[in-house]
Subunit: 363 residues, 2 copies
């Protein structure tokens, strides 16, 4: 049986959900796929815990306590060496970055060059500086290792994998459009005519759908990072700063506390209401959309009007949707839709990438 | 550079589209993925043509003429041996079955056991007898080879790959529903109130959307095969004969010529019209849907009524749609939608599976 040794950096909500899934699927992977999966390392921002492949952490009830209590000071190079050593000959070593850190991706190139695969939902790599992005891809080729980040867009929804297939089989992507934030999807899907925009934002905040400071969602930067990742998936050399991003945070409210923001947001209800009414007058609805115009080489995040019959107008709840128009999918696009956030589906997206690597490594 | 040697069985519309795509992408695969792709064998039902990896057929303008004129009598075991020999050490050998034959899948187990991968859009394998299905999967494990059939459901749309990810990451599929026939999608999407059903079928036939005998579409057997493939993807032991299939061919019209069928179909317009009116009276529309109830272990193909706001009611043209409800995707399902037929997108689905294998084999 082949060893699949995993090192996890960032045991937060997504990371913990992944550990649970690894534990629940360990027997299945052994019997059905001949894979002996072992979580052999976990690191948070301060400490790390290394374990032998024979006593993997995913089966241990107390790995979190052990990490807090007895873990060594964090050293990501040492963690990587441990994963490489534990996988053994013919085994597969994967480092999973479940942080939202901008520093952890600095290590990807070294890991990949050493033949360790990297899987991440961390948008800071895919939307980070282009030189680092290119260096990691080059290191992956050099180390014959893979770097997959399916869960960085749409969580567990199949988005980046299908995009890679389109590109590598020779299709020409013309345009990608998507509603890529569950929060903003919910806000615009539930905003009924006549309602105050600020009250919809307030309700979403109450339900825990927004960040503690809703401006983090309304600024559009989270959507913008996903758009950059999609643009680079089309082969564009897009930096985050190249994007035209329409922030939904009124300019006078960009400073100050979250409480001040929520208190003053109603001052701008008339302005937002007028846009919604204009859309409704034409039989349409507003949606906050990220778009890549692959032909023109541009990308944007804007509030747009869609006719009622458009798939984006028909979205419900906090679903994400991504639409790929290509040379082959010209008359009607390829569309993927569904829940695009949440720890469990995001962890499943990460796990899917790990299995994609492990299946291939059967050769 | 690693060799990716392909043998193609069935150079019909899909097979020819695949050869073109392989030729167009050969340079990209070499520079970007370090893969030297070579179509080293092509067989139709009578003849086969074998070529060395150094002079691959996908680059030859005259491979079709050479196959017709000078090909050897077909021998699939000899074709497989040739692919295995040409791939060389460290290389990847894939046999692509682009036939609709029920006999070619009889060879899969032998090929897989010999370490040759198999990729196919042929529904006769996935929906064929369970013992043959199980034998091929066992042979794949034994030969450490892979058997992928993404293009057998929804053509190039990501359907079976995402289903595999759901299952292997430990999600529990509860229900899969889909509009899986482009022909029947078109017929029900365009059927306007008051129109005669027979005239919609006639128009679809004129446009070339149906088989020459539209009963092949209306019988539901093509949809049923796809449903069996989806059911088995959930781990069910479903045979085609287990399915409840509602044929749209009126019982008195099941015999006789296609011309007789089209002439007499209007006799049944009142019956079909009444069903559409009943659906419309409740604010719904009719859709021809394949469904897997994974919890109950059953599967069916039936004409159903959907409310106007349902994603299936909103389908247009000849698009396919597949909806996965699972333990993780419980509140709203994961939905994939888009063109699900056509030689070019089907070939791209096959090519995607070939690349999935080749990427993995990089290890």
């Amino acid at each position: 049986m082949r060893a699949l040794c995993i090192g996890l950096v960032g045991p937060g909500l997504i990371g913990k959900a992944l550990v649970l899934q690894l534990d629940q699927q360990a027997a299945y992977l052994a019997t059905q796929m001949g894979l002996r999966v072992a979580l052999v390392a976990v690191a948070n921002s301060r400490r790390q815990l290394l374990a032998p492949a024979g006593a993997p952490l995913q089966g241990a009830q107390d790995w979190q306590e052990r990490l807090q209590a007895a873990g060594d000071p964090v050293s990501l190079p040492a963690l990587a060496s441990h994963v490489a050593a534990q996988r053994g000959p013919g085994g597969v070593g994967v480092i999973v970055d479940c942080t939202a850190s901008d520093e952890v991706p600095d290590h990807y190139a070294a890991w990949l060059r050493a033949g360790l695969h990297v899987v991440t939902p961390n948008k800071k790599w895919g939307a980070g500086p282009l030189p680092r992005h290119a260096a990691a891809l080059a290191a992956a080729r050099e180390g014959r290792a893979r770097l997959l980040a399916e869960a960085s867009v749409g969580a567990g929804l199949p988005v980046l994998g299908p995009l890679r297939d389109l590109v590598e089989t020779g299709d020409a992507v013309t345009r990608i459009e998507g509603i890529l934030s569950g929060t903003l999807s919910y806000i615009f899907n539930t905003w009924a005519p006549g309602q105050a925009f600020s009250s919809v934002v307030g309700a979403a905040k109450e339900l825990g759908y927004t960040e503690p400071d809703p401006r983090e969602d309304l600024s559009g930067m989270d959507v913008a990072r996903k758009v950059v990742i999609l643009a680079r998936g089309c082969g564009l050399k897009t930096e985050l700063s190249d994007l035209k991003v329409e922030s939904l945070v009124p300019a006078p409210l960009r400073e100050g506390s979250a409480e001040d923001f929520m208190r003053r947001l109603p001052e701008f209800d008339a302005e937002m209401g007028a846009r919604a009414e204009a859309a409704a007058a034409g039989g349409g609805v507003l949606r906050y959309v990220g778009a890549v115009d692959a032909a023109a080489g541009t990308a944007s995040v804007t509030l747009q009007t869609f006719p009622a019959a458009h798939p984006f107008a028909q979205l419900r709840g906090s679903d994400n949707v991504v639409s790929f128009a290509t040379r082959r999918y010209a008359a009607t696009p390829l569309i993927v839709r569904g829940p695009g956030a949440g720890a469990e589906v995001t962890a499943a997206g990460v796990f899917g990438d790990v299995l994609c690597i492990a299946r291939g490594a059967a050769e």
